[in-house]
Symmetry: C2
């Protein structure tokens, strides 16, 4: 669909992808940092298979609804597996796939970087807020 495409843009590997592909990459990456996705995947990647109720405890303040939705998304993208154990009461185990663990491994450096740079963000915000405050004394 890119009729008069943006031509030879930059050396951005993303720009060589079709809009559809770009959207997919963006979508998958988005799940990494959305409110719960990365957290849930992280728990599963660290501590073997976990049951639904365990996850509900570990991922603090997540609702049942959101946990279910998050797990469905992660499962659909091949990042986690879902295993039902037919017993009473029923039991379901979730585990990270190799692809899921790989994702976590690739996100990790980013977390480390962000934590390392945290003081920069704090001070940047302080400066910005102070400046806007004096301009808009309400």
């Amino acid at each position: 669909m890119d009729g008069a495409s943006d031509g030879d843009r930059h050396d951005d590997p993303c720009s060589v992808l079709s809009d559809e592909r770009q959207a997919l990459v963006r979508e998958v990456l988005a799940r990494m940092v959305d409110k719960w996705g990365l957290w849930v995947l992280s728990e599963l990647s660290e501590d073997g298979p976990l049951r639904f109720s365990r996850l509900l405890e570990r991922v603090d303040r997540i609702s049942q609804k959101s946990l279910t939705a998050t797990l469905r998304q992660l499962e659909r993208d091949g990042l986690v597996t879902r295993t039902m154990v037919a017993q009473v009461p029923i039991r379901v185990d979730y585990a990270a796939t190799p692809l899921g663990r790989s994702l976590i491994d690739h996100v990790h450096p980013l977390w480390l970087w962000a934590i390392e740079r945290l003081p920069d963000f704090v001070s940047a915000r302080a400066i910005y807020d102070a400046r806007t405050a004096e301009q808009q004394p309400s």
Copy 2:
């Protein structure tokens, strides 16, 4: 960086942070992959300073309102700079800061990984969708 753990990937640097800090890291990282933040920062990181209207063209389908909001957030977090040129008509240049470029540099490997693994995601979805379709022929 720090003599990073010899293969112990279960080391979760996030858990040593206070809730407040965790929230901040999460917030900053979220901005990277939210609908526009990363895209805007990416454009600025690749092609020097850009004016508001240029960004509006490059980041396809973004609205004025969203672009403004995104830029404000990025500016507040110290990822971009905003420079007003007093002339008629007025002109404003946005540019990525070193911190902003650093962020992009750290996100890049993740993009490459995602693009490389794209076939995995596509097939995973196909399998999942096929299986759920046969269960719910609706």
